[in-house]
């Protein structure tokens, strides 16, 4: 046995108490195209960032051609011949295309003091031609279309003659034709002996390109299998896990009466023809892959964004588009995904956060009654088991799970007609999750109509009465809880074709 080209050994990484990767080991041969699959949050992006050097793992090692790779250093990874095409936009919008391709590794002249623009431009032009792109290398990247920007990122990676290219969802913004160009390039790289790690939710692409595929789940490696020894359903099963116990603890509390009625909601380039209803006491999940348009729908319902057509009706009252105040007055509340930034008044006390939505009812002639506010805060703390020293401590000092309980407690006190929860348990630990689930159940029992947006399928299965799956801005299916399984949800969520 000769040593593999790339050897990833027992990598673990924790972000603020949440384990992103646990003892992940993986090896890749030179000239191999290796697929990397997993659900949202399985740890794919973290693993890639470890390889790229922008994330330093707590434990583990990486060797390339038998040489140990210094971890946590972007220049060291580049030096070792690793090029990463990141999923999040790594472009510099104000800089010209050729600058984007070469920034950090500029071509220089006159003893390295001065940029050699002419050469950077011609080399960029050559790379763009190879990628069958026809725009001027001097175009500022901010003026390019998303697909062109993606091509710039690929040109950047190609420019460094790497030995390992890592691509994180490279086709997300590409058309079929551009995807074809990319695939040709990838095969060419393979023929030149370059190894490729290919991350994609589009399983067809993985099957078309990859020699082997590794599946991650919850930050652990599940398995590495040759792609010709597994099929799509098998791969999904690996991603989901066989041993998921759908502990359905919540009793359905659906009552008559539609509270939220969304009809034909459309917003160009985000989502099309979204129609569904949520009844009092019902929990409806809106799920799908990241980027399927779930959060965008929520934002349009709540009036953060406008809409091109369609209506949102709450208790028979049609809401004015793009008017958050109208949505709030109609009784909609939104717990945003980004709780630190937009769900919690972080420096304020737990008490102040809990009472924020019901201040009017605590006030007499416009003055907040301290006694009432204290009573509310204490009862909420006990009812929701918020772990804090007292009601006066700043909300930001609490753990993530307890912060989320404070956010939910705020709405529990206000008992809104409709509550939209966007990824309510993201980044909180298992114990706190269960308590948050209980709270969501209590809110539903109280008659609130709940729209749950979540990527975590066990959570969706556990909480919802009905599950609506979105794919590329459209509803691709709806499942009652009795018929829903992770496999069925995922196959509705995964794109069918390569484009």
């Amino acid at each position: 046995m000769n040593t593999p080209f790339l050897d990833i050994n027992n990598i673990s990484k924790t972000f603020g108490g949440v384990r992103a990767l646990t003892n992940v080991s993986l090896s890749i041969e030179s000239g191999e195209i290796h697929g990397l699959c997993g659900e949202n949050g399985a740890g794919k992006s973290t693993l890639i960032k470890v390889l790229g050097g922008s994330v330093r793992p707590e434990t583990g090692s990486v060797t390339i051609n038998g040489q140990p790779l210094p971890l946590g250093s972007v220049p060291a990874s580049e030096e070792a011949g690793i090029a990463i095409i990141h999923q999040e936009s790594a472009a510099f919008p104000h800089l010209d295309t050729y600058d984007n391709v070469f920034v950090g590794r500029e071509i220089r002249r006159f003893g390295g003091v001065v940029l050699d623009r002419a050469r950077m431009k011609t080399e960029t032009a050559t790379l763009l031609a190879r990628l069958e792109q026809r725009f001027d290398p001097r175009t500022p990247v901010g003026d390019l279309q998303p697909a062109q920007r993606q091509m710039v990122a690929i040109a950047r990676a190609l420019s460094r003659n790497c030995r390992l290219m890592v691509m994180d969802e490279p086709t997300a913004s590409l058309s079929t034709r551009e995807t074809g160009v990319l695939f040709r390039i990838i095969r060419q790289l393979k023929a030149d002996g370059v190894s490729v790690i290919y991350v994609s939710h589009r399983l067809e692409e993985v099957f078309e390109l990859a020699d082997r595929v590794t599946v991650l789940r919850d930050g652990r490696k599940v398995d590495t299998v040759p792609t010709n020894a597994i099929d799509r359903a098998g791969l999904i099963r690996l991603m989901v896990g066989r041993d998921v116990s759908d502990a359905r603890t919540r009793e359905p509390s659906v009552r008559a009466g539609v509270v939220l009625d969304v009809d034909g909601l459309t917003r160009a380039d985000a989502f099309t023809g979204i129609s569904f209803q949520v009844r009092a006491g019902e929990v409806v999940a809106l799920t799908g892959l990241v980027g399927a348009g779930r959060s965008e729908v929520a934002r349009a319902i709540f009036g953060v964004d406008g809409r091109d057509s369609g209506t949102v009706t709450v208790n028979g009252r049609t809401l004015i588009p793009a008017d958050i105040q109208a949505a709030v007055q109609a009784g909609i509340a939104l717990v945003p995904e980004d709780r630190q930034r937009s769900g919690l008044a972080a420096p304020m006390s737990v008490k102040a956060n809990l009472s924020l939505a019901v201040l009017k009812s605590l006030a007499r002639v416009g003055i907040i009654s301290d006694a009432k506010e204290d009573a509310l805060a204490v009862s909420m703390m006990n009812r929701m088991a918020i772990k804090a020293e007292n009601t006066e401590v700043a909300a930001e000092t609490l753990s993530g799970g307890n912060q989320q309980k404070v956010v939910l407690g705020k709405w529990l006190a206000a008992s809104p007609r409709v509550l939209i929860l966007d990824e309510p348990t993201r980044g909180i630990d298992v114990g706190a999750k269960a308590e948050v689930y209980d709270l969501i159940g209590k809110l539903a029992d109280g008659g609130t109509a709940i729209l749950l947006i979540s990527s975590e399928l066990p959570e969706v299965l556990r909480l919802s009465d009905r599950i609506i799956v979105m794919r590329s801005g459209r509803i691709s299916g709806e499942l009652p809880r009795e018929e829903a399984t992770q496999e069925r949800i995922l196959s509705l969520a995964m794109p069918e074709g390569a484009a």
């Binding site: 580049e78 990463i84 990141h86 510099f92 950090g104 001065v114 940029l115």
Partner: protein
């Protein structure tokens, strides 16, 4: 940077240059003395310190940070320079005074940079604190007295000429040209733009935000020292009020010249045009014989300029983001 007429028309530099030309034409028509050699020279001498420091501040803004401690820094450095060299105090020779001033300026700039990039304190707060602290410190070390007895070697920097052109204009010209080349032609300059354009992507591209920010703040401190050397030696005494309001002049010039307070966008040329525009406004106000009130007018106009410039920037970026199909 594709050159096309449409591009040119959209550039802030073009707008400021047109505004500048119009102002000069109108005022010169009303009073030809405005474009006399002597007046133009005086105007440029007045502009020189802002142009020198503006080079540093442009880079600070490009990284997405800001420095509003410039005025107090200048006052403090003038006091340091005076105390070191005055025949009544340190009595050091002029070259030593120059070295001390440059070193002190760089050190203060570096301190700003450390607090911002290592201490992770927002730069507006760091430099606001520095603005207040340095002004107080200046009063303290000067003990309420004016400093006179500045050695002739230093006075020469403020009063001397080379080929008939005042030294301060020469220094400003050289600084601007070097900064322009640095911004356009060097990898380091390009990385400053990259950091401000997308900080996350800069980290992924292997750039060090800490090092870049330390550099731009230290450079700005150094340039404030240069401006102090040529700008505060025109008079024979140094008083504690030197540099009051200078930070506003520089920040306004840079922002009017098209630099974005969100980073990533701005040029040395734009900064220079902004400095000259503000200088012309100041001179015009003097020509209008408004007496005492001309200072108030100057501040009001400066304030209006900065608001309009930021608003235009904001509207432009909003229009742009509305155009981009998602």
């Amino acid at each position: 940077m594709t050159v096309s007429f449409r591009n040119l028309a959209a550039r802030r530099e073009t707008g400021v240059a047109v505004l500048l030309g119009l102002t000069v034409a109108v005022v010169a028509g009303l009073n030809p003395a405005f474009v006399s050699g002597a007046n133009i020279r005086d105007m440029l001498v007045q502009c020189a310190p802002a142009a020198i420091v503006g080079c540093g501040l442009t880079f600070v803004l490009l990284t997405g940070e800001i420095d509003i401690s410039l005025g107090s820094m200048m006052g403090f450095l003038a006091a340091v320079m005076g105390l070191a060299t005055s025949s009544q105090y340190g009595n050091l020779p002029a070259p030593a005074g120059i070295a001390i001033t440059l070193a002190a300026g760089t050190a203060i700039g570096l301190l700003n940079g450390v607090l911002v990039s290592v201490g992770r304190v927002p730069s507006i707060i760091v430099t606001l604190g520095m603005l207040t602290a340095l002004r107080g410190l200046t009063e303290l070390i000067m003990g309420g007295k004016w400093i006179s007895g500045i050695p002739p070697g230093l006075r020469y920097l403020g009063t001397g000429t080379v080929i008939g052109v005042p030294i301060s204009i020469w220094v400003a010209a050289v600084t601007v040209v070097l900064a322009w080349l640095f911004a356009r032609e060097t990898p380091a300059g390009r990385r400053i733009y990259a950091l401000g354009s997308n900080p996350k992507a800069a980290v992924l591209a292997g750039l060090s935000p800490t090092r870049i920010k330390l550099f731009v703040f230290a450079l700005t401190g150094f340039l404030v020292a240069v401006a102090t050397l040529v700008g505060t030696t025109q008079l024979s005494v140094i008083e504690s009020g030197i540099g009051v309001g200078f930070e506003m002049v520089v920040v306004t010039s840079v922002v009017v010249g098209g630099a974005s307070i969100n980073g990533g966008k701005g040029t040395i040329l734009g900064m220079l045009l902004g400095v000259i525009l503000l200088g012309i406004v100041r001179t015009v106000l003097i020509f209008l014989n408004l007496g005492e009130t001309s200072v108030y007018w100057e501040r009001a106009i400066q304030g209006a300029f900065i608001l309009v410039a930021v608003l235009m920037d904001h509207l432009a970026s909003r229009r742009k983001s509305a155009e981009v199909p998602t």
